[in-house]
């Protein structure tokens, strides 16, 4: 009985009641679209911001000048299918599970990498189902990558950075095929990769 008195404004035809009814209905319809947006962000793609200097100077080119962060489009549809050396990938960091990292794929399974400090061994073999990722920054202290935590499993990768959207000067597709890195990679065959 109390609820009838509380919500009777919806039925009496008053201005507030009508407004609340229409507003509530539209809010409900808006809420039913939220799972579609979540699905889109998880499986198709989303816009992310780059924070940190590990990919300088390719991304966050203005890191030394101002606080503006680059924005880029991450493609989430089958990111590990046909992964090539030089592509930019987004994955959960092995050391900090709640942090998303963006790095470049340097070597795929079966390759041998000449590593930098602080990796304990001078040469690393990339096992089956893993990739070796590194940041572009020349200064090794500014990037936390495979030289710290070793090759990462392919299932950690949840997206591939395909386009840079902001700033306008670097707008366009990520031209991963033009990348020439300083890390030496001895290319191998996928079939000769170490299987656990």
């Amino acid at each position: 009985m109390t609820t009838r008195r509380l919500f009777s404004s919806f039925n009496r035809g008053t201005q507030y009641g009508q407004f609340a009814r229409v507003f509530g209905y539209n809010l409900f319809i808006f809420a039913t679209w939220i799972p579609a947006v979540i699905f889109f962000h998880d499986n198709i793609g989303e816009v992310t911001r780059i924070s940190g200097p590990s990919m300088y100077p390719y991304l966050n080119t203005s890191y030394n000048e101002n606080q503006k962060e680059d924005r880029c489009w991450v493609n989430k549809f089958r990111p590990t299918q046909n992964l090539q050396r030089g592509m930019l990938v987004s994955f959960r960091s092995p050391y900090h599970p709640e942090v998303l990292a963006i790095k470049r794929v340097i070597a795929v399974e079966g390759d041998r990498v000449i590593t930098h400090a602080p990796y304990p061994l001078p040469i690393a073999d990339v096992p089956a189902g893993h990739v070796w990722v590194e940041g572009d920054n020349r200064d090794a202290n500014k990037t936390l990558d495979s030289n710290h935590y070793g090759p990462i499993p392919l299932n950690l990768i949840q997206g591939r950075v395909t386009h840079v959207l902001w700033p306008w000067t670097s707008f366009g597709a990520v031209r991963w095929w033009e990348f020439k890195g300083r890390t030496r990679v001895l290319k191998g065959r996928k079939e000769s990769a170490l299987r656990f």
């Binding site: 590990t80 189902g129 990462i152």
Partner: protein
């Protein structure tokens, strides 16, 4: 046998459906899509029931035909403790999902090999990683082979075995406090 009568309580919902969706195919399509996506979000972020196969977790799970209830609030290792059975994306096979038990979290010392098989070497698990082992030691490919596993790969915790219905039970970690 009494004659079959149409259940009366079903009339209002069916009339509602007919009034709104019968000659509006676009509305029916979007509503179906939204319902499916809602189930997808619930399955991925809340709870889901999945089938299992494989002999690496005997006797907890059988080789075929078991279905388990997975709590996705434990994804990426939030709140995971030693002794929990977790599900994660495979370290070695891209696209496959694996169920194993967590034996060590970051900072713990674990034995690298199977007990009784040779060296007694122990290693410390690095930051952000965990050590997973199957219950059936002889037939399980786990951290004894591929090393510590990043916690970011964990997708959920198995909290109960649901089917077959006669064998339903809540899964416990099996750890008992030392008296």
């Amino acid at each position: 046998m009494p004659p079959f009568r149409f259940p009366v309580f079903l009339k209002p919902p069916l009339q509602f459906l007919k009034k709104h969706y019968y000659s509006h195919p676009f509305l029916l399509f979007t509503t179906t899509l939204k319902t499916l996506l809602l189930f997808h979000v619930i399955t991925r972020y809340q709870y889901s029931i999945d089938g299992t196969w494989g002999a690496s977790m005997l006797p907890t799970f059988s080789v075929f035909g078991d279905h388990v209830l997975i709590d996705r609030g434990y994804r990426r290792g939030r709140g995971v403790e030693v002794g929990d059975v977790v599900t994660f994306d495979s370290v070695v096979e891209p696209g496959e999902k694996v169920i194993k038990r967590v034996l060590g979290l970051e900072g713990d010392y674990v034995m690298r090999n199977t007990p009784g098989s040779g060296s007694q070497e122990m290693i410390q698990i690095p930051k952000g990683h965990c050590w997973v082992v199957g219950d059936n030691l002889g037939f399980s490919r786990d951290s004894r082979h591929f090393g510590p596993m990043p916690m970011a790969l964990i997708k959920g915790k198995v909290i109960a075995k649901v089917f077959p219905w006669k064998e339903r039970e809540w899964l416990t970690s099996g750890l008992n406090p030392v008296v």
